[in-house]
Each structure stands twice: as C-alpha cells, then as structure tokens.
C-alpha cells in the first residue's frame, strides 16, 4: 500500500505548490536535477536476469551488473554516451515517427494537462511536451544545425549523467497511454518517444526489474509469473471447482496444448492466478462451455501480455513470436485473445508485421454464428469482446442480466484497446446485455480520452505506490464521480494490468468500488445448462435478493 495516507495525499495534490496548482517553478527545467529517493523509482534489473536477456539478444541490454539507482555510480560502460548517441542515431534511421516527433513539436502546450502523471503530480517534466524535450534537447545538440550552433538558446543540451538520470526517472513515469497524442495537432505520440528512450536506456543497462523479470519468465516458462506448465494447468483447473460451487456445473471443455483444436485461446496469464482476473477467466470458460467452442489453451504460449514492449522492439518480437509458433504447431484455424490492454497493442499493431505472415491460419470465422471477422483477416486474431458481442447479437447466449443487479457498473476504457485499436463499443454492448445498471463516467475521461490506471508499461510495482496513486488519480476521480452520483460499485475493464492496478487504486481512493473484467459479468449472467439456482456471483458474493 502507498506510504502516504489518502488524507494527506488528497491535500497534497490539490494544495501543494506545483504547476498543476498554479505555482511556477523557480528554476528552469534544465537546471532542475532528478533526485532519486525511495518510492520514486523502480528497482533496477537483477544482474542474472539482465544477463539472460543479453544472452538472448546480444547488445540490446547492455552490460549486466548490480547497480543502485540512488548511488552516483551506475557502473555504466566507459563509452556510455557514445552508445546512447549511436542508439539515437540508429533509431532515427529506423523510425520515421521518431524523427518527425523530434522535429515538429511547436510547444503549443495542448498536451500539457492531458497526462495523468502531470495531473497527479504537478511535476512539469510530466507534461508530455517536457518529457519529450528531455530527449529532444539531446537530439538537437547532436543532430540539428540549430542545436549545434546555438546550444541552449535553441533548446539543446549535452548528454550528461544528470540527463540520463532524468530519462530514467521520467520515461518511467510515462505509461505510453497515448492520451496526449489524441490532442496533439501533429499527432506526436509520447508513447513512441518513451519507447525510444527506454530502448536506448536498455542499451546501457539502465532498466527495471519489474519489467525484465516477467519478460524473462515469459520467455522461458511462457508467462509472467514463471508458472511452469503443470502449475499453470493446476491453477486453471482449480478454478473449475469454484465454478462448480457457484453454478453447480462441472465444465468439461477446459484443455491444454491440444493439437487440432479449432481455436487457440491466448490470455494474459494473470487471469489464471490473481484476483480478480481469475473471475474473468471463469467467465471465459463458462461462455466457451455454453457455446461448445472447440478451443485450447497453450501452456507454452500462456501469456498474451508482452513486457518486451516496455524494453525494446526486439524482445517484444521474440516474446510475441510464441503465439504464431504455437498456433502453427497445434494446427489451429485462428486465435482468440482474452481481455488485456498492452497485449492487444502488440497483437493489433505489431504482431503481424513482426511475426507474420500467417498463411497457416484461416480468416477467423465464428463457428457459432458464422460471422467472418474481416477486420482480422490478416492477423487472424480476434478480441474476446468482438467475439462475445457477435454471439450476443446473434442471440447465442442465454443471459440473465438481473444476476448482476447487485452491481452498479461503469466501464474503464483501457488505454491500448481505446487508443491503439479503437475497441470502444464492443465491451459496452456486452455490458448493456449482461447487466441492468451501467453508467458512463464523464465524457472527458472515457473512450479515446480515457485515463490510464496510472501503472501501465511495467510500472505496476509496489515500490512506487505513491506515484501510482497520484498517476491514477484522474481515473479514480472519474470513478468517484459516478460512485457518488449513481452509487457505482463495480469498475469493469478489459485489461489484466488494470484488474491488478485499479484494485489498489480503488482501495486507496474509492474503497467501495470493486474491479472486474467484462467476462466475469458475462459469466454471472450466463444461464448454463443444468445449473443450480445461483445464489452467488463468481466471486462467491451474494446476488441481489440472496443476501440473507
């Protein structure tokens, strides 16, 4: 839990002098150093884990070593500046977006108050424009005529250890949520800039363990937590008992690594072992049983989430490659993906480019409704919300929405499905069909303007809890609004990181509100063949009228 109690935090965000509360910082940002203290940084990657990644992708993860963020010697390689400048150069040549975003910003400031970290901390360097300037200033110094000649006058500065510290601090206070990009007149996407900066930081071995360790687990065992195949299977099967207790039905369809299945189902692995994700998982299983879907889950590719995205495109590609490899090995026709945010960023915008083409798969076609998912014709991967919405539309699910009457539900658009995919209506359509009380949060906080949970991109670690509670404030505040107005008590979402992070965020800011995946509510509403009278929901909470 956060170090600061909610009372003092509430006062601090609204009252402490900051750029958000109208106070102008005394010093120019270039003269304000980044100072690390416990609670404002993520722990660096463990030596052996960094070494593991370095072995798999030589050169991309720098020298592995033990180092401490608060110390003034990060044990960087002798030529670290050269590595960084060359790293920038290489990426300028590889990514047009990077070049354009370095050159085009006019500092109009439209992005300034769009960032949840700025709104929660008031720290000027959390304005997307300044976050980008941290890198842009070095770019100007090394790669532009104006910067080389005019120096600081043109907003240029040299790469120093102080700058490196700043990068480590502020590119790990960006969750690549793309909200600023929606408002930028040139579409400058800070997510893209943060990705470049993180790639470059990894080159000199500046990294965080919370990202490297899940990524290494994911590579070897298939999922973030490092669950080995038998454990993964046992965990999932254990949930069948819970389902039986609640519904009286023993599901038969759950299976693993089965060749010849029609559909490979890929989930964020948290859904198998962590609350409240496990309830979402139960929802998936109930629905698949209900419609008699021919699917299988892979233990080898048991993670759709991809922490490689938060390091560099090479590791992202490497981790993602498993999905197609497994689809090919098992001989499935197409792939279905569970509720996860950044997983879908990778699946939607990167997977086919990195690891396609997929001539061994078929254009996804719902075996139940016959709907052909033309929008996934090349990647061959369908989002569970698209799939479920289609089922409901065709009347293939028997639903009793009143079983969610004890829930007053609102919906949190997760950053990536919203702004890197455009999945907005499908989850809403499902919600409106599986529950009777659905309320939208204010319009500036949903859909393409949605606020991040404050802990995406590998920032969902305990050591920066205060920071996360600040970054998540805009989201929590919007939830509070509908909680106060409509009595909302359930925050639904389609993202596994959200299900973990919003939980802490709600416990902190809105303790009366719980968090769930959409599929949990589907599972509650599904009328299963041969079921008993349902007295509780999937998390064994009493249904409306069953409280006694």
């Amino acid at each position: 839990m956060a170090d600061t109690k909610v009372g003092p935090m509430s006062l601090s965000v609204a009252k402490d002098p900051s750029l958000m509360t109208g106070a102008i910082p005394a010093k120019d940002w270039m003269d304000t150093p980044a100072i690390f203290k416990p609670g404002n940084y993520c722990y660096p990657g463990k030596k052996e884990i960094a070494a593991y990644h370095g072995k798999n992708l030589p050169g991309k993860f720098g020298e592995s070593r033990d180092w401490k963020v608060e110390e003034d010697d990060w044990k960087l390689p002798e030529n670290w500046k050269e590595i960084i400048i060359n790293g920038i150069k290489e990426r300028l040549d590889k990514f047009r977006s990077f070049k354009i975003f370095m050159d085009c910003c006019v500092r109009c400031g439209a992005c300034a108050d769009k960032c949840h970290f700025f709104l929660g901390t008031g720290d000027p360097k959390n304005m997307p424009v300044l976050r980008a300037e941290l890198l842009r200033s070095v770019y100007r110094n090394e790669f532009t005529k104006a910067g080389k000649i005019l120096g600081r006058f043109a907003g240029a500065r040299e790469m120093t250890f102080g700058v490196l510290k700043e990068w480590f601090m502020y590119f790990y206070q960006c969750t690549e949520c793309r909200r600023c990009s929606v408002f930028c007149p040139y579409g400058i996407d800070t997510a893209e800039i943060t990705m470049m900066a993180r790639e470059i930081l990894h080159l000199v071995g500046v990294n965080t363990n919370w990202i490297l360790e899940p990524a290494s687990n994911s590579n070897r065992t298939g999922n973030h937590l490092g669950l080995q195949p038998h454990t993964f299977k046992e965990n999932a099967e254990f949930l069948l008992d819970d389902i039986e207790t609640v519904t009286g039905v023993r599901l038969n369809s759950l299976n693993f690594n089965r060749k010849g299945a029609e559909i490979l189902f890929v989930i964020p692995s948290a859904d198998v072992f962590a609350e409240p994700g496990i309830f979402t998982f139960m929802g998936y299983l109930l629905m698949f049983e209900h419609i008699g879907l021919d699917y299988t889950i892979s233990t080898y590719s048991s993670e759709g989430g991809n922490f490689g995205l938060f390091t560099n495109n090479e590791l992202m590609k490497k981790l993602n490659g498993k999905i197609y490899a497994e689809a090919k090995r098992l001989g499935v026709k197409w792939i279905l993906g569970g509720e996860c945010g950044h997983m879908w960023r990778v699946l939607h915008q990167y997977m086919d480019t990195m690891n396609g083409p997929t001539d061994f798969l078929q254009v996804p076609k719902s075996p139940i409704t016959g709907t052909v998912f033309e929008n996934a014709a090349s990647t061959k991967m369908v989002h569970i919300s698209e799939f479920t919405a289609d089922l409901i539309k065709h009347g293939k699910l028997k639903l009793d929405p009143s079983r969610n009457n004890h829930r007053k539900v609102t919906f949190h658009d997760s950053c990536n499905p919203a702004r890197a995919m455009g999945l907005l209506e499908e989850p809403r359509y499902i919600l409106k069909n599986v529950c009777n009380n659905f309320y939208e949060m204010p319009e500036n906080t949903i859909r393409e303007q949605t606020f991040c949970c404050g802990s995406g991109t590998g920032l969902n670690t305990g050591e920066i809890m205060d920071l996360r509670m600040r970054g998540g404030l805009p989201r929590a505040n919007a939830v509070k609004h509908v909680h106060d107005k409509h009595g909302v008590n359930m925050l639904s979402c389609v993202c596994a990181i959200d299900r973990a992070t919003l939980l802490s965020l709600m416990q902190y800011w809105n303790p009366d509100v719980e968090v769930c995946g959409i599929s949990e509510l589907v599972g509650n509403a599904l009328i299963m063949e041969g079921e008993q009278v349902r007295e509780t929901g999937l998390r064994s909470e009493p249904l409306e009228g069953m409280e006694g």
């Binding site: 354009i100 108050d113 007149p185 981790l319 497994e326 929008n375």
Partner: protein, 347 residues
C-alpha cells in the same frame, strides 16, 4: 529572459536592415535582391532536404492513434474519420487535421480543486486563434502574389476584394491584417501568461512569433501609416522572380527593406526550426495511417527474421517430465531412465 532575447534579436535584425540600406553602399541591392534570393533558395532546398531526410526512415509499424470506434462487426458503427480503416478515410482524417486542426479542436483544460476533484472544461481558444493565425497568414501570402505576378491572376483579385470588402479607409483595411496581428498577439500572450506554457517555451518559440509579428507590423505600417511607392516595389519584387533587376531602388522606402529582411530571415530560418511542422503534419504516422493493422499486413523493411521465439522444443525439453506427469501432451515421450538420473527441470 527568453522573451527579451528573442525580441532583441528581431529588433537587431530590423536595425541591421535599416542601417544596411541607409548607410551601406549597395545595401539596397544586398537587402533587396541578393539576400532574398539566397533565403528563398535556402528555404526551398533545405525544406525539401528535410522531408527527404524524414522519408528516408521507414515507418516500421502501423501505429495510428485511434480516436474513435474501430472497424469491427458490421452492425457496430465505425468512426470513419477519427479511426479510419480505408485510404479514403485517412484522406478525410488528414483533411480535417490539416485544414481544420481537428485534434486541437478536442482541447480541454484541466483544473484540480479541493477534494481532490479534477474538472475538465472545453478550451477552444488555442484552436480558434491557431486557425485564425494560419488562415490569415495564408491569405496574406497569397495576396502578396500581386507583387510577384503580372498580369495578376484572378484568385489574387478575388482575395483582395474579399479581404477588403469592408471598404474602410483608403487604401481599404484588410480584415486579415487585423486578424493576423490579433492572433499573433494572442499566441504570444498565452505563452507568457499561462504558467505551464511559459515554462515550456524556448527562445525558439518566441523568436518566430516576434519575427512574424514584426513582418505584420512593418507591412501594416507601409500600407496604412508610412505609405510606400507600391509601383517601384512591385518593379523590384516582380523583377526578383523574372530576373529583371531594373527597379528604382532609391525610391523605395527603407521601411520596405526592413519588412523584406524579416521575411528573408523567416524563409532562411524556416527549414531549421519547428516551423517545419508545415511538412511534418502530413507525415505523422499516428494520423496518416489507416487502422487496418489486422486486416492488411504492414511490412517492416528492417524486420529481423533471425529473432526467433524461445522454441517449443526447448520449452518441452525443460519441462517434459512435469508435463507428462500433469497429463499434458508432449511431442517427445520421456526417455525411459532410472529415476535418479531424471533431468533437473527447473534450471
């Protein structure tokens, strides 16, 4: 300080041009002919070079920022402009972006109150004044074509007529002159008044504003206050584009040369500055790509085929014993071995 530096530079430029034409022998030819041509060539060459430089880097991934409903099931209404999946949709989105500043139109202003309570209000000023500034600038540039063409084409006449239709004074006041100076003033004021914007502003933000304001001001001064000999000026300016350098330079007011020198500076400065957003707005990958990543495979020219996932075979080798025990299917059965020789599975 950043403000004053920038202002001082623009004033110095004006003074330089003024003394240049007043004192320097051949100053009028220098400031009236040589430098403008050099600046124009610089502008053209480096502008194109910058775009070519951008274009040399590929767009490796399809990364549109989706600002509306995707194209998915046929009965779900797609937002075809904010989340286009076709080329036509992208053209529509880019049209709105370039000509109507669509993204800026979304702008909001966030405030934090006690509670804490965050509130977001609509904030369209930047959009409005930005639009006014850019369009009046465009009209003014096009109107100036009367000094660079002979005969003067119809669209310039049309603009002249429309822009001066208030018929106030003689010569009539141009609406765009007022709008232009007003908008630049607004853009400047918000930079110094709003704390966050002031904090992020660089000299490179103030300098072009002062420069452009200086151009506007000297232009307005020439038209309405210190009248200049337009015929001689046109003989010069039109001579510039037709390579006839016979204009009576001596009968042209020094004020004109100050105006021209600021424009010269702007042209030469343009390709090296943030003003290149003029070209960049067309090339921004988050806006000019269709959101059809799952429909059409996007090709990355530097995609590295040697990066392979940790293979299933290696995975199974690691965990075969556990998998067999847990009843998970395996590709290769366990080798019949004595128990004590079983491979360590966990490292």
């Amino acid at each position: 300080m950043r403000v004053l530096y920038s202002l001082a530079i623009v004033l110095a430029l004006m003074l330089l041009a003024y003394t240049g034409v007043e004192v320097l022998p051949g100053g009028r030819t220098l400031f009236g002919v040589v430098l403008p041509w050099l600046a124009f060539v610089t502008f053209l060459f480096f502008f194109v070079a910058k775009i070519v430089d951008w274009a040399k880097s590929p767009v490796p991934f399809r990364i549109p920022t989706t600002c509306g409903q995707e194209n998915s099931l046929p009965w779900i209404k797609q937002n075809k402009l904010d989340c286009p999946s076709t080329t036509a949709g992208v053209w529509g989105r880019m049209f709105l972006e370039i000509f109507l500043f669509r993204s800026l139109f979304r702008n909001t202003r966030a405030e934090i109150h006690e509670g804490p309570k965050l509130v977001y209000g609509s904030s369209k000023y930047l959009w409005l004044f930005g639009l006014m500034f850019h369009y009046s600038f465009l009209v003014i540039v096009l109107r100036h074509m009367r000094l660079f063409t002979n005969p003067v084409p119809f669209f310039v006449h049309a603009l002249e007529f429309g822009d001066g239709f208030l018929q106030v004074g003689a010569p009539p006041i141009y609406i765009t002159d007022l709008v232009f100076l007003g908008a630049v003033t607004f853009l400047f004021l918000r930079r110094v008044v709003l704390p966050a914007i002031r904090y992020i502003s660089l000299p490179a933000d103030y300098f072009p504003l002062f420069l452009i304001f200086g151009i506007g001001l000297t232009g307005v001064a020439m038209r309405y206050f210190f009248r200049v000999d337009v015929i001689s000026i046109k003989t010069l300016t039109h001579g510039l584009v037709t390579f006839q350098f016979s204009a009576p330079l001596e009968s042209i007011s020094s004020l004109f040369f100050v105006h021209l020198f600021l424009v010269t500076t702007l042209m030469a400065y343009f390709p090296f500055s943030k003003l290149m957003h003029l070209g960049g707005v067309f090339l921004s990958p988050t806006r000019n790509m269709a959101n059809n990543s799952r429909m059409v495979r996007h090709i990355n020219p530097w995609n590295d085929p040697s990066i392979k996932p940790h293979s299933y075979a290696a995975y199974e080798d690691d965990f075969r014993e556990f998998m067999v025990e847990a009843g998970l299917p395996v590709e290769k059965e366990l080798e019949p071995k004595a128990d004590e020789n079983a491979p360590a599975a966990s490292e």
